[in-house]
Symmetry: C2
Subunit: 243 residues, 2 copies
């Protein structure tokens, strides 16, 4: 019997759907009973993460805390959250619960570093809010790997693309623009790219870029299955000051 | 603000994923906040519905009741269940909760009857358990519409297909066999076919059959969005004796 996974989702629903679809496919189950139990709170009403951290809206922290508490009360054995940016509010979730929380940021960092001892520079495809909160920069700091990110006009174009994806537009124009932004990071010297926003993999594939692409959703799917099946010990719980 | 939907799922996970994917796509949302909140209990550990009703396994009733209670406690305003056969245990769910339960069977019946006053015979692509429990037969009885179903060897072939689909096989052979079984019902005189098992639409499309195909998952998606957005009054709660 595998553990029950509590999923904080809906940020956006397409990204949660992508996670769920990949998890079902990669479970390699031959019958219903070999699948993993998921409790998914697909809550598209979580206050906008980007608006909150830039002071233009209410904090999603209390809503995320309430969702996490609800998932634990419903029987979740551990929690994951399908949104990189919302990890800026991880401490609200940790303070509200007592079960393990698997950080998408930390798992993605570990997947990037694994088997790449000489890595010097990575490129972050992440929201301005995720970058401002320093989520990936802090995670990579101890390793000495430099993080490169989009800036200025390029970052604005990236953010505009994300909201088009959330509005259901995953067409060829959006894909071409995302590919071009990824290439800018490669031109700056990125040896590995991190799809550090769960909307990015909806329009960018590994074959679209000339360097390895580490997809945070794929990492979370793989690790969630390992944790649920008891193939990996849960990470330590650490509560840090809220962003 | 729309109502929160509680989803009893995992029977199987592919069918729940299909429901979630269609609901996200059909929400017609232009931003996260225009989507509907879903609490999904994707529980692949629900005891086998077919084994239970044929006396070869434990009843899923208590597990379904527990899931329903959990969804209500987590804030669901109404419940849906993405499995036709499990509706044989609807009374366990109704007895365990106080919020509306939207019956996949009744909604599919209503979708079949709507706009078809002269309808005489429908063909049911449904599990042997769903048929033995008489779920669709009872639902259609007041309308006078006759229900035709697969029998004997054809029904056995249908059941074998479902377990292949649950094992992840949605390939061309499974599709061809499902199409042939659908055609058998048309040959018997079915004027409309009902995909009355949530695995069926994973391998059968409207263009595969020469008569209208009413897909129970599609019906549930459409109606769930209407109920969640307050565009339809909830059905009356009726507790009937457990199957």
């Amino acid at each position: 019997m595998s553990s029950t996974v509590g999923v904080l989702g809906g940020m956006g629903p397409e990204a949660t759907l992508d996670f769920f679809a990949k998890l079902v496919r990669q479970a390699g189950a031959r019958s219903d009973h070999e699948h993993v139990r998921l409790l998914i709170d697909n809550n598209p009403g979580v206050p906008d993460r980007n608006a909150a951290l830039s002071g233009r809206g209410e904090s999603p922290g209390p809503v995320l805390a309430q969702m996490a508490r609800g998932l634990q009360a419903s029987g979740a054995d551990f929690l994951v959250m399908v949104c990189n940016t919302a990890h800026a509010f991880e401490s609200d979730i940790l303070n509200a619960t007592t079960i393990p929380f698997v950080s998408l940021i930390n798992e993605t960092r570990d997947a990037v570093l694994r088997g790449r001892p000489g890595l010097r520079r990575i490129g972050l495809l992440a929201t301005s809010t995720c970058l401002d909160a320093g989520l990936y920069q802090s995670a990579f700091a101890p390793s000495g790997v430099r993080t490169l990110a989009l800036e200025g006009d390029a970052l604005e174009r990236f953010m505009a693309l994300l909201y088009r994806i959330k509005a259901g537009d995953t067409g060829s124009d959006v894909r071409a623009q995302m590919r071009a932004l990824a290439q800018e990071l490669v031109n700056l010297g990125a040896e590995v790219l991190v799809a550090g926003c769960t909307e990015v993999p909806l329009v960018l594939d590994a074959q679209d870029v000339p360097v390895p692409l580490v997809n945070s959703t794929d990492v979370l799917v793989e690790r969630t299955l390992q944790y649920a099946r008891g193939h990996a010990p849960f990470p330590e719980r650490s509560v840090e000051p809220s962003a």
